[in-house]
Symmetry: D2
Subunit: 358 residues, 4 copies
Amino acid sequence: MNTFGRALRITTFGESHGPGIGVVLDGLPSGVSISVEAIQAELDRRRPGTSPYTSPRREADRVEVLSGLYTGRTTGAPLALWIANTDARPADYAKLAQLYRPSHADFTYTLKYGHTDPQGGGRSSARETAARVAAGAVAQQFLQQAIPDLQILAWSCAIGPFTTAYRPTDRTEIERSPVRCPDPIVSAEMERYLAELQIAGDTTGGIIAVEARGVPPGLGEPIYDKLSARLAYAMLSINAARGFEIGEGFAAASTLGSVHNDPFHKDASGRIRPATNHAGGVLGGISTGEPLFFRVAFKPIATLRRPQHTVTRQGEEVIFSAEGRHDPCPVPRAVPIVEAMTALVLADFILLNRLYKH
Amino acid sequence: MNTFGRALRITTFGESHGPGIGVVLDGLPSGVSISVEAIQAELDRRRPGTSPYTSPRREADRVEVLSGLYTGRTTGAPLALWIANTDARPADYAKLAQLYRPSHADFTYTLKYGHTDPQGGGRSSARETAARVAAGAVAQQFLQQAIPDLQILAWSCAIGPFTTAYRPTDRTEIERSPVRCPDPIVSAEMERYLAELQIAGDTTGGIIAVEARGVPPGLGEPIYDKLSARLAYAMLSINAARGFEIGEGFAAASTLGSVHNDPFHKDASGRIRPATNHAGGVLGGISTGEPLFFRVAFKPIATLRRPQHTVTRQGEEVIFSAEGRHDPCPVPRAVPIVEAMTALVLADFILLNRLYKH
Amino acid sequence: MNTFGRALRITTFGESHGPGIGVVLDGLPSGVSISVEAIQAELDRRRPGTSPYTSPRREADRVEVLSGLYTGRTTGAPLALWIANTDARPADYAKLAQLYRPSHADFTYTLKYGHTDPQGGGRSSARETAARVAAGAVAQQFLQQAIPDLQILAWSCAIGPFTTAYRPTDRTEIERSPVRCPDPIVSAEMERYLAELQIAGDTTGGIIAVEARGVPPGLGEPIYDKLSARLAYAMLSINAARGFEIGEGFAAASTLGSVHNDPFHKDASGRIRPATNHAGGVLGGISTGEPLFFRVAFKPIATLRRPQHTVTRQGEEVIFSAEGRHDPCPVPRAVPIVEAMTALVLADFILLNRLYKH
Amino acid sequence: MNTFGRALRITTFGESHGPGIGVVLDGLPSGVSISVEAIQAELDRRRPGTSPYTSPRREADRVEVLSGLYTGRTTGAPLALWIANTDARPADYAKLAQLYRPSHADFTYTLKYGHTDPQGGGRSSARETAARVAAGAVAQQFLQQAIPDLQILAWSCAIGPFTTAYRPTDRTEIERSPVRCPDPIVSAEMERYLAELQIAGDTTGGIIAVEARGVPPGLGEPIYDKLSARLAYAMLSINAARGFEIGEGFAAASTLGSVHNDPFHKDASGRIRPATNHAGGVLGGISTGEPLFFRVAFKPIATLRRPQHTVTRQGEEVIFSAEGRHDPCPVPRAVPIVEAMTALVLADFILLNRLYKH
């Protein structure tokens, strides 16, 4: 169950404080050109320590290709990527291993597995997402070559109480903000808020919006594997994700059908298409060809410098304060993870779509 | 891709206007007592025509067991259920087949498959959910026998602008409301609103809340198959579902970590557990043993009596009004569907959990 | 685990003495023309009572389409087929249910499941293969439309001590023999032998050979899902199958490499291909484009009229003789089953092969 | 499709002449003690250069654990193993890349993928089997802890024309023979034969027999995933495997039912069981509790020093002789691979069997 995908499958492995993190991509067609630099560039976007609002763990996060490429192109064999851990300090975690950190997975892992790795969250650490980002960067390269018009953009649309409805036109608008919010005014508010939280030793949640343009129509399978259902699955599999909505999402619940429906018309080029896109690009679980739009909610990061009540594994009450500097909000660094999972879902569907017509 | 589940798998088949709808359940342990009457009772809850606020199609929806039972108990062989269509009127759909109904899947099915069945939405019809409900009723019976304390309750917590935070204690509170809202005052408002919409020929969306008590700790697999991720997947696979949130969900995005975190304590019985449940019963993708709580947003039903703009398959602009009476809101009838999918997800995880300890 | 296939999946259900036997095919592309008569014709080939050498159970074996077709063509929705049981006589089996029939699966089903259906072997009955034949007939029709040159022939190449190396050119040569052996002299010997066994109340095993011509090159996945491995899997899943060999098979074990190797050359049309085909059409798990050739060994049918020692479920020693007339050899009726499984495996790989090039 | 297994899954990656070979095991229960030395010992058994009858490539084949262990025990997280290539000489293969070696997979990989890695067979190299052996050694350790009585023995029962029906009592009898044949007289003949073939620059095939004692009853799933079918699948997935038979196998085809049937009796300890074991331990696809017995046929190794006809990729006829020393027979080194795949299949079924009773 460390595997995701059907036609294009990723299997990830590795712990936060072991030798490293890896991913095997299986099902990539042969002949796809893969730039290791482009994978590295995505990893660099996810890496901690790249802005004032991220924790300072300074992993080099250098990706290595273990298999599957020949002369820079895929061969049809599994592509394995490896990112060595260079900042693993198991000793730091000896103390943590004695207590259940509030809202951490230590508790549920222990309930489930009995024997687990307490170091840095082990497998539950956000470090696992480095493997997703690396795999997603490969999927992105496949997509660029298969569907050149496809563009996936993700950005911070809410951090704490600060929100924006602005939709960026390209990644530059997003990346110039240290919190990955393309609306400069809201970005400034978010930054101020995060700086305050860092001082207070507190954290906040946030929301990431995703728009994918140029998605071909016909992606998604009607019943259980709807495009919307697989996206929800992928997004809720990300650490700290707590909600998903597509198109109008929760707002659609209080909207009239006559307002929410997207009437069909013939556009200027003579193509039949919906005149509006309240559906967020998916109808009956299948892409319409209109931009895909969805949002993912994240809870605040559980690790706080502020003192919290908790208990040891033996049940003694203790006060716990996390040491060191931690991210005040998961959202800025989760942007490339959300993009990666989106790319993996779309690449999977694009491959599967080769099967459906006679 | 008409299959859902891993240890307990359902495969559904059938169209709205063909001979009927079926489901094969594979992976049920042998020796589970199955009451066909209990399956029928769930189907009756989903059936149209059972309240003033549902469409009048009067399907008998009688379930038949085609295989897998011997003397009323499962044998380990696949359990197949069949619900014959008795109200299928293919002729009614000849006219519809000529145009794209706004926000219906006719459009995307045609884009995807080329050759499709236009009758009554064919496979995309909500009729497919009868098979889910039947399968879910089987999963419920397995759960009752395996985990007697487990109780799954779903209810309408929002219809149009009317919402309630009330949590019912049992199903009676829900079922006495014709809109399945356990809060009597809000239920009355919702009923009035739906009656108005029926007169206006319009529709609305809504939100279903789910609470599952007695969920054993340790369900869920850490990375991609988190309990929360599989629930999101299952819920977004339901027709008209547009959003999913677990625990505090989207509200967590604007909450402080120090407020949202659930501190651990030792309860009165000496068991270590979270003192609050903002997590909605899932931490790191694994159940904590606290009540599971999540919500699912539905968009308004697309079929309206009010006239709408659309185009024929040839692109001519036409005005389209649906004839007959249709449900004004998907939510009341979706309650048993949401429960069914919840039961299927939980049964699947409960079986899988037998694999994880040595 | 009642599902087989990856891109084209079948899920079968039903017992020997319940209402009937069914199969759901999922993953068929839309737009494939399906003739129900052609499915029925294949079922008629498998049906008991069609030759002196088969048991006389006279099932009508009429196939019904429950879903997935519109105007005679597939829609992309699952195609479900149903074959009602008309000769089920549960009462006949009350006595059998008290003892373990030698070499029957009653014993192992009871060990595995505890609670099982003793009637006519329940799910372990050869009746389940009717569903495979129906599904295979659908796969055959897809193959005929996708790869018109592909031809699958299976025949009895050994029954008891009588064997032939003759390879038929078409199905007529096979079907004119009541034991499905295309070599008329050997067929006559086999017939005589089976008539003697019927008098003696004994049974025998046999071997089925398969040749598939026109198989496109490139089918099969290199490592675990080799074409040869998936064929072995499919064949050994048939009741009473005990061995599989491809190309020279077991004989290759005592052959020199210099003799067994197939040198490459340029054929008359200038195409590079192996000059011989000891490999049976598969190299490194992938089809070469040469005819696929493999053989499947079947053990004798376990049900004998001759008295045999066995024990009751309570362990009392008893003498057991099967009543009525039974097939003296599984092979003649297994020929269409072997063809069906071959068609399903090839259709699955042909669909999957759409995924492998960029 | 580089994944094998259902409850216990392996995913392998890596090429013969890349950085190394890896495997990810997913689905191992937590708390299994894993000895890296025991994995290494199995790899040493498969390693080339360990007897006069194996090729001299001197890979160190050191296994490294990349993830999944904590204090020597599994944690429920994926266990990843890595074996670095130390004897990769890509340059050696530049010449080979120009021609199609007879009976090698270069030809079919090129047909399938277009762009492939010609170095040392790339992914089709027998080197991939090192990953299987490592994974199998982990499965063996799980089995030893879960079912201490279970013992898997594999041996060479035929090499070229020399065959033995002798069944060894333990691994020592097998391992003292340089060709892994437990019958000392036949072993000596086989050794002489292989020495002659080495001089002649030729190769031969052979057969491996497997006996597994202490297999619990009830393993295997009735229809497609019969124990026999999954074993056939696993065995035919091994490079150069050409045939599989279980119990009496192909010989059963010419045996009378009255002779082949295994009558049930009560044994000395009062347990009901078959009095004979012609079935090889599997009835109706499910283990009986009697020893599992099956055989796997291998074709001769395709790489010969003797000159052979072939063509270049451009179709020019050439004479090709492999340089260096190569194994004269695949069987001695395939013994640990066959054992590994057996262990993986059994471990998978033993885990799945936890799901089948209520």
